[in-house]
Amino acid sequence: MSDRNEDRLLDAEIIKNVRRMPEESVPFDFSNKVMAGLEPKTPSVWLRLKLWLTGPMSLTFTPLQTIPALACLIALVMLGAMQMGGSVLDEGVRLTTVQFSLSDTNKAARTVSVIGSFNDWKTEQSTMWYDDKHGKWILEAKLPPGDHEYMFLVDEAKLVSDPQAAMTRDDGFGNKNSILFVNGDHEQPI
C-alpha cells in the first residue's frame, strides 16, 4: 500500500516538472526526419490477402465483354448435366441410360429408328447412327423405370423386333414388340 502511494507522489512530481519546463518550437522538417529514420515495414502475405479480400473494389465492363464469360458458364452447366450420366433426376423420376443396337454388317438399311412406348412410338429424335467399326446401328436413350415395349423401324417402313430382347409381346397388330426392363439405376441385371 505504501509503495503505491510513493509511486503516485513520484508521478505527480514528474508531471509538475514537465509543466515547468520552457516551451520550444518543433524544429523544421522534424516529422519527415523522424519518418525517414524508420525502416520501411512490408505487410505479410496473409495481411495483404486479407486486405485484398475485405477491401471494397469495383469492376467495369461492357455488355460485349460478358458474352465469353456467359458462354463459358453455360458450357460448364451443360457439361455438368452430361457428367451426371445414367442417373438423371427428371421431375423426381430416375432416368437410366440404355443402349439399343441392331446388327447390320453390310449396312443394308438406309435409316433405322427405335420406336417404343417410351417415346410414344414417335420417330422424331429416335434415329439411330451407324457404327462402321462394329457394323451396327446404335442409339442411347434415357428411360424411366418400367417394362418398355419397342421395335426398330427400318427405312421408315419395315418393323423389326430386337433379336437380342429378353422377351417379346404380341402387339395385337400382327407384330412382336420387344420388351426392355429398366429398374431404377440400371437395366435390370439377371
Partner: protein, 252 residues
C-alpha cells in the same frame, strides 16, 4: 291460303322437324366428341392426331370409333395415357383405323376388368395397380391369378403390393405357374426381403428356361435367395450360372 298451300307448308314443317331428329353428321359427331374428350382430359395431341387422320382421308366414322374408347376411359376415370400410347403405336405402324379401334376397345375392357378385380378384392383402387392389372389381363394373364394375389396380399404396403402384382403380371405373360409365383411371394413377404428389383424376376426365368431349367427349380432357387435376404441377381448363381453377362454384353 288455299288447301294446297297449307299442304306444302305442313310438309315443309314435318321435313324440318324430322331433320332435327336425324343423327348428326359424322363430321359433326367427331367434332362434338373431340370437344367432350378435350374437356374431360384426353390430351390435345391425341385428339389432333385423330383429327389429322380424318382430314388425311380416313372416314369420319372410323375416326369417331378410335376416339370413343379414349373418351370412355376418361369418363370412367380409367387410365387414358396407355390408350393414347396405343393409338400412337397403331398410327406409327400404319395399322388400319378399325384395327386400332378394336385394340383400344380391348384395352378399355381390360382396365374395366382390372378395376373390378381390385375393387372386389382389396376394396380400393391404386392407379399404378390398375395399370399393371389392366396391362396384364390385356396380355392374357388370367383374372384368377390377380384375384388370388390381391386377396392374399392386398393388405401389404403399396411398394410390396406393386412389386408382387408386377411379378404376377409379367410371369403370367410367359405362363409361369401362379402357384410357383405365389410360393416366391409368400417367402419374400414373410422374410421381408421382397425388394422392388424382384419385379423383373421374369428375366431370370427366361434366362434359366433357355438353359432348360425347370420352372419349379427356378422357384426353389428364388425362395432360397429370398430366405437369405439376397438380391434377385443372386438367383442365377444359385442355379449354377457364372457371373458373366448372359445378355452377351449387349445392353439395351
Amino acid at each position: 291460303m288455299n288447301s294446297r298451300s297449307s299442304l306444302y307448308i305442313a310438309t315443309l314443317v314435318v321435313f324440318a322437324v324430322s331433320l332435327s331428329f336425324l343423327p348428326a353428321s359424322a363430321a359433326g359427331k367427331l367434332e362434338d366428341m373431340a370437344a367432350h374428350a378435350l374437356n374431360c382430359g384426353v390430351s390435345s395431341e391425341s385428339v389432333e392426331q385423330i383429327r389429322g387422320l380424318s382430314s388425311a382421308g380416313a372416314s369420319e366414322d372410323a375416326a369417331v370409333a378410335v376416339l370413343s374408347p379414349l373418351l370412355n376411359a376418361c369418363v370412367d376415370q380409367l387410365p387414358v395415357s396407355p390408350l393414347e400410347i396405343r393409338l400412337s403405336e397403331g398410327v406409327t405402324k400404319r395399322v388400319p383405323l378399325p384395327a386400332i379401334s378394336v385394340a383400344l376397345e380391348k384395352q378399355l375392357a381390360s382396365f374395366r376388368l382390372a378395376r373390378e378385380i381390385l375393387l372386389t378384392t382389396t376394396g380400393s383402387l391404386n392407379e399404378s395397380a390398375l395399370e399393371v392389372v389392366g396391362n396384364g389381363v390385356g396380355k392374357g394373364v388370367v383374372r384368377s391369378d390377380f384375384e388370388a394375389f390381391a386377396t392374399e396380399f392386398g393388405k401389404q404396403p403399396v411398394e410390396v403390393f406393386l412389386t408382387g402384382l408386377t411379378m404376377v403380371s409379367l410371369q403370367g405373360q410367359i405362363d409361369y405357374d401362379y402357384a410357383l409365383t405365389q410360393r416366391i411371394l409368400e417367402k419374400g413377404i414373410q422374410a421381408e426381403t421382397l425388394s422392388p428389383d424382384w419385379q423383373y424376376f421374369v428375366r431370370v426365368v427366361l434366362a434359366a428356361r433357355k438353359h432348360g431349367i425347370e420352372d419349379r427349380i427356378i422357384a426353389d432357387a428364388a425362395v432360397d435367395v429370398l430366405d437369405k435376404g439376397e438380391p434377385v441377381s443372386s438367383v442365377l448363381p444359385e442355379l449354377g450360372f457364372t457371373d458373366r453377362d448372359l445378355a452377351g454384353g449387349i445392353s439395351k
